[in-house]
Symmetry: C2
Subunit: 216 residues, 2 copies
Amino acid sequence: MEIKEISQAVIGRLPRYYRYLGDLKDEGVERISSQELSELMKVTASQIRQDFNNFGGFGQQGYGYNVEYLYKEIGKILGLDQTHHFIIIGAGNLGQALGGYLNFERRGFIFSGMFDQNPALIGKEVRGVKVQPMEEMEAFVKNNAVDIAVLTIPKTGAVDVAEKLVSYGIKAIWNFAHVDLNVPEGIQVENVHLSDSLMKLSYNINRYDQLVAENQ
Amino acid sequence: MEIKEISQAVIGRLPRYYRYLGDLKDEGVERISSQELSELMKVTASQIRQDFNNFGGFGQQGYGYNVEYLYKEIGKILGLDQTHHFIIIGAGNLGQALGGYLNFERRGFIFSGMFDQNPALIGKEVRGVKVQPMEEMEAFVKNNAVDIAVLTIPKTGAVDVAEKLVSYGIKAIWNFAHVDLNVPEGIQVENVHLSDSLMKLSYNINRYDQLVAENQ
DNA sequence: TAGATTGTTAATCGATTAACAATC
DNA sequence: TAGATTGTTAATCGATTAACAATC
């Protein structure tokens, strides 16, 4: 089977579709047209149809889309029908928050290990998982089929830790450290740079204030 | 002064420029050309020059850009020369992590209040700020010139709380709740949907696995 | 002045939207 | 069959890249 390259713009929209379809499913809605969904989600119907058609036709002319079927298919595309094991490096508040988040488990992401440098945190438990010293990381990754590493450590050291994780065989890094990692091709990285996000917000506040000041 | 509308694509790149320039400044680098910066950041020099020119010329032909000047200018564009007061709604681990993050303060974001529904958390202190009951929110926002509300509560209730915050006069919401808020024009919202981000990562892992399987 | 590098215009590329034929 | 709505092609729009004249 040939796999067409799908743009990250499309991929980025899939989780939102998935969320809306999940809600509709829970409300007992059986079918929906691209038009109805477009009004709900405030995007164009055209975009919805284009997006879905990247993966082959999920709908039916004259009918629309079956909500439950579409929901499941998008889940499959996102790989949510598969199980991934993740570990968290950095057992501070953010690491604990992510470790404690039950919804990840529901989507197939299994929280299986947690590591920290700080001796004071070793042994602490988050949702049944004990914090281990960094020295245990290598053996743990290799023995437990860990796919994903979540980096919730300060930016100093993040690049080094990432490099080590890759050498241990990790496939993907969810990076909360405020630094760009440099990983080999084939290792997936998803950055969550919280302060970048806050700065964008700050820009938009300012921009709006200026706009208002101007039109007075 | 006329203000040109800048695309969010450009705005989204500014924090990253800001970070690199800050690092260069700390390393004592005085000037940099778009070419050098492009190699460092792995973007095209053309894009760098286009981006900066949205805000007027920051460079000098034959010389390049003065690092410190450019750093400061981007900071101003992002509104980091101004002070914003923020409160956090939801004093769980994520809320505590964000409240405890010192770097925000350095950028002009002052953590000034924290609220939660859960009586067990009331009175708890995060970086000198005491958790207050939700009933205190209205008076606090009105009396303390709070600009930004950070929503770290479950998605149930988030829409309601956001609506209330807007009625109290908040300007912007940094939304960590996994739901789309519906706010009036002029209220800035920046969503951080963590599970969406994790799903994208999951997609890319899968995609790469398939690619490898195919080419075997 | 010559060399370097920006600022800016033009060309290209990709993503979004519109339109409509296919088909349920 | 007629009406509805998809799948898909074509048109438009916006963002990125290339090219080069301006200028330090």
